[in-house]
Amino acid sequence: MAVRSTSRGPTLGRLERPAITGVLVREIVNFSSYWRSSTFSSTVEPTIYLLAFGFGFGSLVSRVGNYDYVEFVGTGIVATAVLFSSAFPAMFGTFVKYKFQRTYDAILAAPVDTEELVTAEALWIATRTSVFGCVPMLVAFLFGLDPAWGMLAVPFIAFVSGFGWACFGISIAGFAKSFENFNYVVSAVLTPLFLVAGTFFPISELPEWAQILANLNPLYQCVELVRSAAFGWEGWLDLARLGVLVAFGLVMWRIAIHAMTRKLVD
């Protein structure tokens, strides 16, 4: 008996648009059933930080550098919102879909490869982040942050940052053996990065070694880029910052694909 070869179709390539679209459609249709809780957790928590620091700290410090404190926090908070709408949902969502819902088993049985699956998931989270990331800044408008045309770039900055952090979260989920592993990452990685991102206090007050390290923190670069968007671009310096965010995204993207391939394909 011969294996049929007459009607076999074309072999398919990598990173195909229909595969990525298919995974995105699944996310969009699912989003219609859980958008309330997801929007709540991604936007309310950063807004609480904004209000707590704005009112609490703001009563002690009225100015930081050249900014009113509300301007300082109201822009810096975008990075916090980015982190909360990308890294956290990516970590938990990926793990749940892999382990409990077995969604990825279903998707990978269709003509979708792990590379396409991870890319689509990260693009989706980044897209959400580009919206959620702006919410606390919009709230800050009510407390005295002045709108500026440059702020129209903030969704884009949030998207690029969000893509990297989504891939970071997917990678952690890929390497994690259980939910408990996430505690180490949150405590040892995310919390320090989020506190020394220049969101709530300027990093110029930190020791020099910490300032150098902060430059490698993608959240810090995100904060600085948002402040440039709001208060005036700084040319090459901003391009370099964007470069850091893009590089972070690309590296995390490949790591996420590697981690998930190990996890999903025996």
Binding site: V3, V29, P111
Partner: protein
């Protein structure tokens, strides 16, 4: 029946650390037939299914699905396959129709054909009335039917069913058998793993019995029964001591026996010429073959 093969495996080996889940498996699935993969838990059935979608990568051996070499060309093969997994992975907060809609996209059905594909799948699975019901409100049997319907939206040439009726009531199991039988009638090639012997006997054109990761017998159910268990069996009931004694006596007389838990079945008694013990006569069946070939004890 075509003489083309939808699936061809040769010498396939898959190891997980020290465990060899699939140990040199050969498997042929001719186009347009339904092949049943029968074996006890841990025989390697599910691993074989995962190998066929390249969700597991074989350590050795050759795999071809619909003419595509695996794992290199697996994506093209998957585009023409439908897979119903053993563990339910539907999106439970979505409706029946939304679940199908997602898969019309994943299987790349063009915009113009999506609606018709969903209708057809709903009809096959008898879920037209439930299209707007959320999956977490469906009964177990409906979820299973949806799981299979989801694998059919793109009219696949080959359908892989991994334990399609596991854990379901007999009534629900019958509904699913009707669904699978309708699919067969349409000429779709089916590979179905199961450890329910009746399921394989009713639905499969040929059965492949797996044990410890490789094939121990293959053929049409009736032929397997005739070859390995003969035509007739005698059931001998009694206390354990009597069963053990019957076993010893029959084996000494050169007759095959197998335990059923409550009795000893003595096989091939049509040629026994008076060596067979007294008991209830019955036709030999696939379960006799299964237990003979895969062993009486569970490892």
């Amino acid at each position: 029946m075509s003489d083309q093969l939808a699936i061809r495996l040769r010498g396939v080996v898959k190891r997980y650390g020290p465990i060899t889940a699939v140990a040199g498996l050969d498997l042929d699935v001719p186009e347009g037939t339904c092949v049943g993969l029968l074996g006890p838990n841990g025989a390697g059935k599910s691993t074989t299914m995962r190998l066929l979608t390249a969700q597991a990568i074989a350590d050795e051996g050759k795999l071809e699905v619909l003419g595509f070499r695996l794992p290199e060309e697996s994506k093209a093969a998957r585009a023409q396959c439908g897979v119903s997994p053993q563990l339910d992975n539907l999106d439970v907060t979505l409706t029946v129709e939304q679940n199908l809609l997602v898969f019309t996209h994943l299987y790349r059905i063009g915009r113009a054909d999506r609606g018709a594909a969903i209708e057809r799948a709903l009809q096959m699975a008898n879920l037209v009335d439930r299209r707007d019901t959320r999956v977490d409100k469906l009964s177990g049997g409906m979820r299973r039917r949806l799981l299979i319907a989801r694998a059919l939206v793109h009219r696949p040439r080959l359908v892989l069913l991994d334990e399609p009726t596991v854990g379901l009531d007999p009534q629900v199991r019958q509904e699913l058998w009707a669904l699978i039988d309708a699919l067969r009638a349409e000429g779709t090639t089916i590979l179905m793993s199961t450890h329910y012997i009746e399921e394989a006997e009713r639905l499969a054109d040929t059965v492949l019995i797996m044990s410890h990761g490789s094939a121990v017998a293959a053929g049409p159910p009736a032929q397997l029964v005739a070859k390995h268990a003969g035509r007739e069996a005698v059931e001998v009931y009694g206390p354990p001591a009597k069963l053990a004694e019957t076993e010893r006596a029959c084996q000494a007389a050169g007759l095959l026996t197998r335990r059923t838990g409550t009795s000893v079945s003595v096989l091939g008694v049509e040629d026994a010429d008076g060596r067979a013990p007294e008991g209830e006569r019955r036709p030999a069946n696939l379960e006799d073959v299964f237990v003979l070939l895969t062993g009486e004890e569970i490892d």
